[in-house]
C-alpha cells in the first residue's frame, strides 16, 4: 500500500511536469466518457418523455380498429375498413361475456377545415360520446365535455383542444359560447380541454370533439366507426379483456378463424413497449458512437504513453541498473496511464452531466442521469488505462538496461 502510494505520488509528479501533453491526452477520454454519459442520459430522458406521453393517453386503454379490407388480391390500408359499427360498441358494453371492461368509447375521426370568424385551421375532429373523456383522461379547463344529452339530441356543440383555440381565437378571448364552422355547419363551443402535449402529427391538442351522432349523421355521413376505445377495469386484466372483446367481435362478424379477423386490438402496453424498444435502439446506437470516441481516446493515451516510454528510455535504463524489477517499471507506467484515464473519466462524467443538464434545461425536457452509466464510465475509463497502458508499460519493462542507458 505504501509502495503503491509512493508510485502514485511519483507518477503524479511526472504527469504534472508536462501539463500540456497530459491535458491533451486526458481530453480524448474526457470527450469519450462525456459523450457516453450525455448520450445515454439524453436517450433515457427521451424514452421517459415518450413513456409519459403514452401514459397520458390513458392507462388500461385498449383500442379496437377495423382491419384492412381485402377485395381479391388488393389489400387496403389498416383502419380503412368499415366493419366496426355502433352496434359492436353497444355489444361490448352490454354482452354478459364481457366482464373486464369498465368503459366503452366509440369514435369517428377525420381531418377537416374549421373556421371561426376570419381564422381557419386544419384540425382533427373526433366524434365522441361522454365516455371519451374518462377513457382518454381528458380534463376540461373551462365549460363541459360532450354529454349523453348532446349526443342523443344530435346537438351541434363542440369541445376544442388548446391548439385549436389558439389557432382560431388568437386574440385570447374565451371561446366558450362562441361558434366554429365545420363543413358549413355552425357548432356552439361548450368547452376547452387541458393540454395533453405531443407535437406534429402526434399533437393531441389540435383536436376538436363533437357528439358521435352528430358526426356520423350530419357531418361525415357514415354509420361505421374509426375505432372503439375501451378501458379495462385494471391493468392486470388487459389480456383477458383483449381476449373477451376479440371473441365477441369474431362471433358478431361471423368469423371462426382468428387469423381472418377484420379488426385489430391494440393495448397501451403494446404501443409502450414498441416505443420503448425504438428509443432503446436509438440510445444503443448513440452509445455505440460514443464508445467509438472512447476507443479513440484510449488509443490517444496509448500513443502518449509510447512517446513517454521512448523519451524516458535512459531513465528506465537507469532505474533498471539501480535494481528496479520488471513489475516495478510496469506498475510505474501503468499507474501513469490509469491516472490519465481516471482523471479523464472523472472530468468526462462531470462534463456529461453538465451537458445533459443543459440539454434538459434548454429543451425543458426531463433531466435523467443513469447511475449505471456513470459507474460503467468509471470502470471503463480505468480499464482503458490498463488496456492501453499495458503495451507501453511492458515495452518499458522489457527494455535491455544497457541499450536503454546508451540511448541518446
Amino acid at each position: 500500500m505504501k509502495e503503491f502510494l509512493e508510485i502514485f505520488v511519483e507518477s503524479l509528479g511526472t504527469l504534472t511536469l508536462n501539463r500540456m501533453r497530459t491535458g491533451l491526452a486526458t481530453l480524448g477520454i474526457v470527450i469519450g466518457i462525456g459523450s457516453v454519459i450525455a448520450l445515454i442520459s439524453l436517450g433515457q430522458a427521451s424514452q421517459q418523455v415518450i413513456q409519459n406521453q403514452i401514459q397520458a393517453l390513458g392507462a388500461n386503454l385498449l383500442t379496437v380498429q377495423p382491419g384492412s379490407q381485402s377485395s381479391g388480391a388488393v389489400r387496403g390500408a389498416a383502419g380503412g375498413a368499415t366493419t366496426l359499427t355502433n352496434e359492436d360498441a353497444t355489444a361490448i358494453q352490454t354482452d354478459p361475456t364481457i366482464t373486464t371492461i369498465s368503459d366503452v368509447s366509440p369514435e369517428v375521426e377525420k381531418r377537416v377545415q374549421a373556421t371561426a370568424g376570419r381564422n381557419n385551421s386544419n384540425i382533427q375532429v373526433t366524434g365522441a360520446t361522454s365516455a371519451y373523456a374518462s377513457v382518454h383522461k381528458i380534463t376540461i379547463s373551462s365549460g363541459t365535455f360532450i354529454t349523453d344529452l348532446n349526443n342523443n339530441g344530435m346537438q351541434k356543440v363542440i369541445v376544442l383542444g388548446p391548439t385549436v383555440v389558439s389557432n382560431l381565437f388568437p386574440d385570447g378571448s374565451d371561446p366558450v359560447g362562441q361558434s366554429v364552422r365545420i363543413n358549413n355547419i355552425s357548432f356552439r363551443i361548450i368547452g376547452v380541454t387541458v393540454s395533453k402535449g405531443g407535437t406534429g402529427f402526434a399533437n393531441q391538442d389540435n383536436i376538436a370533439y363533437i357528439p358521435l351522432q352528430t358526426a356520423q349523421k350530419q357531418v361525415f355521413g357514415q354509420t361505421y366507426l374509426s375505432s372503439i376505445a375501451l378501458e379495462a377495469k385494471s391493468a392486470d386484466q388487459m389480456v383477458t379483456a383483449e381476449n373477451q372483446v376479440g371473441y365477441l367481435l369474431l362471433a358478431r362478424h361471423k368469423l371462426s378463424d382468428p387469423t381472418q379477423a377484420d379488426f385489430t386490438i391494440f393495448s397501451q402496453s403494446d404501443i409502450l413497449s414498441t416505443a420503448t424498444a425504438a428509443t432503446g435502439t436509438f440510445t444503443t446506437l448513440l452509445s455505440g458512437i460514443a464508445a467509438i470516441s472512447l476507443l479513440v481516446g484510449g488509443i490517444g493515451i496509448m500513443n502518449i504513453m509510447l512517446v513517454t516510454v521512448t523519451e524516458r528510455t535512459r531513465e528506465i535504463g537507469l532505474r533498471k541498473a539501480l535494481g528496479a524489477k520488471k513489475k516495478t517499471i510496469i506498475s510505474q507506467f501503468l499507474t501513469e496511464s490509469i491516472i490519465l484515464t481516471f482523471a479523464g473519466g472523472l472530468i468526462g462524467i462531470i462534463v456529461g452531466i453538465i451537458f445533459s443538464y443543459a440539454y434538459s434545461y434548454f429543451t425543458s425536457s426531463l433531466f435523467v442521469i443513469s447511475y449505471t452509466a456513470v459507474l460503467l464510465a468509471f470502470v471503463v475509463s480505468a480499464g482503458i488505462g490498463v488496456l492501453f497502458g499495458w503495451y507501453p508499460a511492458s515495452r518499458a519493462a522489457n527494455l535491455e538496461p544497457i541499450e536503454a542507458l546508451r540511448y541518446e
Binding site: 535512459r314 531513465e315 533498471k320 541498473a321 539501480l322 535494481g323 524489477k325 544497457i402 542507458l405
Partner: protein
C-alpha cells in the same frame, strides 16, 4: 586468505550482427579481492565497456563464468539480476544518469526504494552519504542545479547507499572538468580506504594512476595486469 569478491574465468562475449561475429571479450580470466581499487584501461573498441556491462550484471556473457560475492551471476533471470545490481553493485556512470528535475536527496534514495527499505531509514542513509561527498548543504538541489562534479558526487553517494560489494565506475571523470576530476578521485580513494572495492573503466592514464592495480585490455584480451607502482595518493584529512 579471503575468497575474491570477483572471480572471472574464461569469459567470452560474442556479438552477432548478421553473419558477422564480433568477439568483444575473448577468454578473459581474473580475480579481484575485497578492498582493491582496479582501473581497467584500453582504447575504445577494446571490449572494456562490454566487460564492465558483464561485471555490472547488465549483460550476460556468451560463455565462461562470473562469480560476484559468492554468487554465480551468468545464469540468473532478469529479476534476479536486478536484485544483484540493487544490493551488490553501485554504479557510477560517465553521464551521471541522475533523474532530471529530482532533488539530490531523492536521487540518492532511489536504490533503497527498490530494496524496500523504510522511508525514515532511506532519508537517514541518503543524508549520511550526501554529507560524506560534501553535498550536505545541497540535498534539495535538483540535478540541473548542480555542476558536473557535484552531480557525479551525488551519483557516488547513490552508489554507496546499499553498501555494495562492488563499486563500478564507467569513465567517471569523462564529463567533468579536470579540477573537479581530482576531487572525485579523492572521494574514490577515501571510500577505498574504508574498505570498498572499486573497479573503474577509463581510457585516461592520469585517472588510472589513482588506482592500486591497472588491467590493460586490447582486442578483448588482457595484455597486462599489474600493481600500480606509481599510485597518486591524495592526502585525506
Amino acid at each position: 586468505m579471503p575468497t575474491p569478491i570477483i572471480q572471472v574465468s574464461h569469459l567470452k562475449k560474442i556479438y552477432q550482427t548478421g553473419t558477422l561475429e564480433t568477439v568483444a571479450v575473448d577468454n578473459i580470466s581474473f580475480n579481484i579481492k575485497q578492498g582493491e581499487f582496479v582501473a581497467i584501461m584500453g582504447p575504445s573498441g577494446s571490449g572494456k565497456s562490454t566487460l564492465m556491462h558483464i561485471l555490472g550484471a547488465l549483460d550476460k556473457p556468451t560463455s565462461g563464468s562470473y562469480v560476484l560475492d559468492d554468487k554465480n551471476v551468468e545464469k540468473l533471470t532478469d529479476d534476479q539480476l536486478a536484485d544483484i545490481r540493487n544490493r551488490k553493485i553501485g554504479f557510477i556512470f560517465q553521464a551521471f544518469n541522475l533523474l532530471p528535475r529530482t532533488s539530490a536527496l531523492k536521487n540518492v534514495m532511489l536504490p533503497m526504494r527498490y530494496a524496500g527499505i523504510p522511508m525514515e531509514e532511506r532519508i537517514k542513509t541518503a543524508t549520511k552519504y550526501l554529507e560524506m561527498v560534501g553535498l550536505g548543504d545541497r540535498m534539495d538541489h535538483t540535478s540541473n542545479q548542480l555542476s558536473g562534479g557535484q552531480q557525479q558526487r551525488v551519483a557516488i553517494a547513490r552508489a554507496l547507499t546499499m553498501n555494495p560489494a562492488l563499486l563500478l565506475a564507467d569513465e567517471p571523470t569523462g564529463n567533468i572538468a579536470t579540477t573537479q576530476a581530482a576531487e572525485v578521485m579523492k572521494i574514490f580513494q577515501t571510500i577505498n580506504n574504508q574498505g570498498h572495492t572499486i573497479v573503474m573503466i577509463t581510457h585516461e592514464p592520469d585517472i588510472a594512476s589513482y588506482a592500486k592495480r591497472i588491467i590493460n585490455i586490447r582486442d578483448g584480451k588482457i595484455i597486462s595486469d599489474k600493481t600500480n607502482g606509481h599510485q597518486i595518493k591524495i592526502k585525506t584529512k
